[in-house]
Subunit: 429 residues, 2 copies
Amino acid sequence: MTNVAILSGTAESVEEIVRKLAEDARVASHVLGVSGPSARDEALQIGAAEIRRCTADILAANEKDMAFGREKGLSAAMLDRLLLTEERIEAMAVSLETVSALPDPLGRTIDERERPNGLQIARVSVPLGVIGIIYESRPNVTADAGALCLKSGNATILRGGSESLHSSAAIAACLQEGLRAAGLPATAVQTIPTRDRSAVGAMLRTSDLIDFIVPRGGRSLIERVMEESRIPVIAHLDGNCHIYLHAGADPEMAREIVLNAKMRRTGICGAAESLVVDRDVADSILPIVVDDLTKAGCEVRGDAEALAADARIVPAEEDDWDAEYLDKIISVRVVGNPQEAVEHVNRYGSHHTDAIVTEDATVAEHFLANVDSAIVLHNASTQFADGGEFGMGAEIGISTGKLHARGPVGAEQLTSYKYVVRGSGQCRP
Amino acid sequence: MTNVAILSGTAESVEEIVRKLAEDARVASHVLGVSGPSARDEALQIGAAEIRRCTADILAANEKDMAFGREKGLSAAMLDRLLLTEERIEAMAVSLETVSALPDPLGRTIDERERPNGLQIARVSVPLGVIGIIYESRPNVTADAGALCLKSGNATILRGGSESLHSSAAIAACLQEGLRAAGLPATAVQTIPTRDRSAVGAMLRTSDLIDFIVPRGGRSLIERVMEESRIPVIAHLDGNCHIYLHAGADPEMAREIVLNAKMRRTGICGAAESLVVDRDVADSILPIVVDDLTKAGCEVRGDAEALAADARIVPAEEDDWDAEYLDKIISVRVVGNPQEAVEHVNRYGSHHTDAIVTEDATVAEHFLANVDSAIVLHNASTQFADGGEFGMGAEIGISTGKLHARGPVGAEQLTSYKYVVRGSGQCRP
């Protein structure tokens, strides 16, 4: 493993450290951006092998971080996210190999046309340039995000939570070894070698060298980045996901989808947080759905009509409609018709992922067209909101914004395009 | 023509005026976003007819603005941009009809796939939502930008330069009449009814209701918007366009392309501002090219080697390499090989539009791949950098950024997408 130099942050200012990294990243991005897919894929494969070979070193680096984290008094949940094991290291290696096997997102002809004057105009995908990733103390993001950026020809500057400093550097060193072995610049993947928190602010100000910022983590991190950044940000905020049980829903399908969408994993952004139920079927469908949920340990909070339909439901407050619980809690709203359901979802939802359960195709199409969310589903669980489940191989997050990328952000979403025009001497009249 | 209420700005605060417009725009965007193409196209056609019918009213409104502008001491060039004539009004009507005839940018299936679990996943184009356009005192932008937003299902808030207040309102009123007649909300196209300059700042802060800002105008306007905006901005900065005359260029083609790219119109962003010439052909090609240019009244500024090749060339300063002259001036740099040319263009250019002239296909492909610009051309004039010339029908500007839209921004670039997932009861294992 390459030696990892961790700077004390006293010799150089943090601003200078970040600027130097960004300058090196910019130079690397020019080489990486015109590299062929075989070199980038080889770098990922060698990086994966290097991660396996350096397992002991990575575990040792992680133990330093864990000691720091324990000393700092991190919660058990945060320590668990920081912890690396042999299995987790193997999973990172597999993730690099999976990304390596994806189709090349660069050089795709998005569209092409010949103009009457004979000009051939092609729109071709190219990298974004230099991407800064800001995330929490989850070392595996170093591998996943670094791999997706490398695959898509972007240089990346990775800034994980300060507790994961040594682990992230050790993982990045493996990717750098892969880059070197494939004849690509190792500075295409870099981590920030200091725990100093001002490094995040310094990144967000380096708008002349960093093209694009992706924050990945909790709401407070993302809001800070969006507020401070002078660089365009692609972010996902809340996943307040809804399931609308239309009067025409198959009751058995409704039960299964609700239980899966809420309880399969409650902590992911695609977990359902709210049920919207048609008045006509509230009395018949709510008791069986609530029965499943309460047996699984889920609290159900509802409006007055929901309470009237099932006594196990407790009253919801106004705040419940906006809430992303990420926990065993769900809210229930009763509505009079599909349009009311759409309006509720558009008003209180977070434009992330929302589903309708119905056998009525017309009502389903109305919901799919009118709900203004990144992902809309008919008769399927909201837990499918995931780049891997969409066949994108891997994702760096799910964007709830509409600019550039919406929904899962995979390698393809980390690209831009250029117009390539081929002529034979044409001049404009 | 609908009566146009111009507020004095004293009764309500400007902040409140902008907020109210944005709230109405948000509501209108929900209706427009799910409207069919025929209603939007009809609104544009009726809007065009209304512009023709109201020519006298629009000219009267414009005369008020011209009087205001003359009183304010606007330059002759600015007054000319503000001036409307019968011909210019007819051109606006034609522009609306042209946009109406474009293919519908909404509801396009960008890609679709079936997953092994049977889920059908389609990515479908949708509008961005509410777009704020900030521009100078050019009334025709009201028609062009309003039409493109309407076509793409976006509600728009138009803020032209304060001198064009009455003209813009009169033109927008015609589009509103078209919307009403087509059964769509008239508030889908609105102008800001006050000259108060704080309205721009108020727009840029309304990030909860406006999705997207497009500034259109000179560098100072665009820089102010990019600096102040809390809303994502799509902007084009300079067009410092280059032509690289490779040693393998056909001399006659080189002459024609250089003269066209520089002199056809010097004030547009696709006008060439700099020549890069191979050392091997500097002595043979520069004299004929410089002859054409100087005869056409163009000043040529060059480096020492260029001066040595032709005595009519005057010395360039370092600032010349960055300059977007928009005038009858061009700079000339002599380089040793294609890689030096690429490096010069990437370092000094503005990533807008750059061309190579050569008969050598390998060198051409190297230039097209390695020059990091929105538009790269081989053997064609940079003056083709235009949405209309690209077959996009109309454009709102040319983006030099890589996020979301790069190059000409037409109706298609004013869209986002959503994932529409159709299942039959799938739950995630």
